[in-house]
């Protein structure tokens, strides 16, 4: 039976695996994916970033940067987070989104810890890296979780719609960590739709989702609720193309917590970059140990 620590490792490995799997087909349409790969179902690298197989992208790297800033600072601190993101950007990462780059640049030049609220910040760049918040604030009250999410998101993305979507993903991960079922996760997704109707996902199949968080989560929720295993969920979502490494990463963190680490295909874990995998598993445990639920508070 999966312990809390197993599920946390599952979530973090799921994130990394989803990122690496989706990266191969990022920016491709479903038809292009079929023409080149048939059904894409293995960690083969390549893609527009020409990755060696098993390599992760900014989705996993920013999560690790956020998590290590929380552990070093002993809490969710916007300045420590901004500094960690800036250090990460200095390593010349394999990819970095425009909105993330602008936010970090504002921090470097003016010390800005929260970018101004902006209709253009509804991209998925803050959601893709939210797993450390889900782990560290497990057991905390709703307002603390929401505030921690805002602190990390607003370093680069300040948008009410995106905040709501990211908060729901955090809640879904936390519910799954605590052993709740897919049915209960569905309730959380429906709560989001009730509060923000744009997020509804019961109409047309979302294919080729863009970076707009509404489209990203539509693909994630459709794939999650249409399948019954980690592997079928991930294969479903990445073959929809579009921002596939990010839909893969977000679905991977939810499904990894839900189905547990043993549900992640051996053949994927075997190819996943060893350094990243180790960092993910270590950090999942460290963040849990420091969380409200485990450390008390």
């Amino acid at each position: 039976i999966n312990t809390l620590y197993d599920r946390a490792a599952g979530a973090y490995l799921g994130l990394a695996v989803g990122d690496a799997l989706g990266a191969t087909v990022e920016f491709m349409t479903p038809r292009e994916i079929r023409e080149v790969h048939g059904e894409h179902r293995n960690l083969i690298g390549g893609g527009w970033l020409r990755l060696r197989k098993g390599r992760v992208t900014d989705d996993t790297e920013m999560s690790l940067a956020l998590g290590s800033s929380i552990l070093a600072a002993g809490g969710v601190d916007a300045r420590a987070i901004a500094e960690a993101f800036s250090d990460w950007m200095r390593t010349k990462p394999v990819d970095i989104g425009h909105t993330v780059r602008r936010g970090i640049s504002q921090y470097r030049l003016h010390g800005t810890l929260e970018v101004p609220e902006n209709e253009y910040d509804a991209g998925n760049g803050a959601c893709m890296r939210c797993l450390p918040i889900a782990l560290f604030t497990l057991g905390a009250d709703a307002e603390t979780v929401a505030e921690a999410n805002r602190a990390q998101s607003h370093v680069t993305h300040h948008n009410r719609l995106a905040d709501a979507g990211t908060l729901t993903v955090i809640r879904m991960v936390q519910a799954a960590l605590l052993g709740q079922s897919k049915t209960e996760l569905r309730v959380l997704a429906e709560d989001l739709v009730a509060a923000e109707p744009q997020y509804r996902f019961d109409r047309r199949r979302m294919e080729n989702p863009g970076g707009y968080l509404v489209e990203t989560l539509r693909a994630v929720f459709q794939a999650l609720f249409a399948t019954d295993s980690f592997e079928t969920a991930l294969v479903d979502v990445v073959n929809r193309g579009g921002d596939a490494d990010t839909t893969g990463a977000i679905l991977g963190m939810i499904a990894g917590a839900l189905y547990g680490p043993d549900a992640i295909p051996r053949r994927w874990l075997g190819v996943l970059d060893k350094g990243s995998a180790l960092a993910c598993v270590d950090q999942s445990a460290a963040l849990l140990r420091a969380s409200t639920r485990c450390a008390g508070g």
Binding site: H98, R101, R102, S105, R108, L109, H110, G210
Partner: protein, 112 residues
């Protein structure tokens, strides 16, 4: 928004790009151009004879930026591109009224 154009010596392009990247500025467009100014042209061998070509190859970089980044941009370019010898080049700043990112339709601050 502003457009910053800089005419620089070609071998300085990498140094200038590094200096700009420290401020998070990585998007730009570069063009090979011929510079005429106080720096004299070079001599070239052509069919065995040496003759003076009175222009020098330069690189022109164009960056469109939000207003708050312009000062940083100018000092990064100036520091990185300067050798102190004639012909180091010039920087021109002008206004841009509208920017569009073709791929997404994003506009202005969100497009640069």
């Amino acid at each position: 928004m502003k457009k910053v154009e800089a005419i620089i010596k070609p071998f300085k392009l990498d140094d200038v790009r590094e200096a700009l990247s420290a401020a998070g500025i990585t998007g730009m467009t570069a063009i090979e151009v011929k510079g005429f100014g106080r720096q004299k042209g070079h001599t070239e061998l052509y069919r065995g004879a040496e003759y003076v070509v009175d222009f020098l190859p330069k690189v022109k970089i164009e960056l469109v930026l939000t207003d708050d980044l312009v000062e940083t941009c100018i000092s990064a370019i100036t520091t990185a591109a300067r050798t102190g010898k004639i012909g180091d080049g010039k920087i021109f700043v002008s206004d841009v009224t509208h920017v569009v990112r073709i791929r997404t339709g994003e506009e202005n601050e969100a497009a640069v």
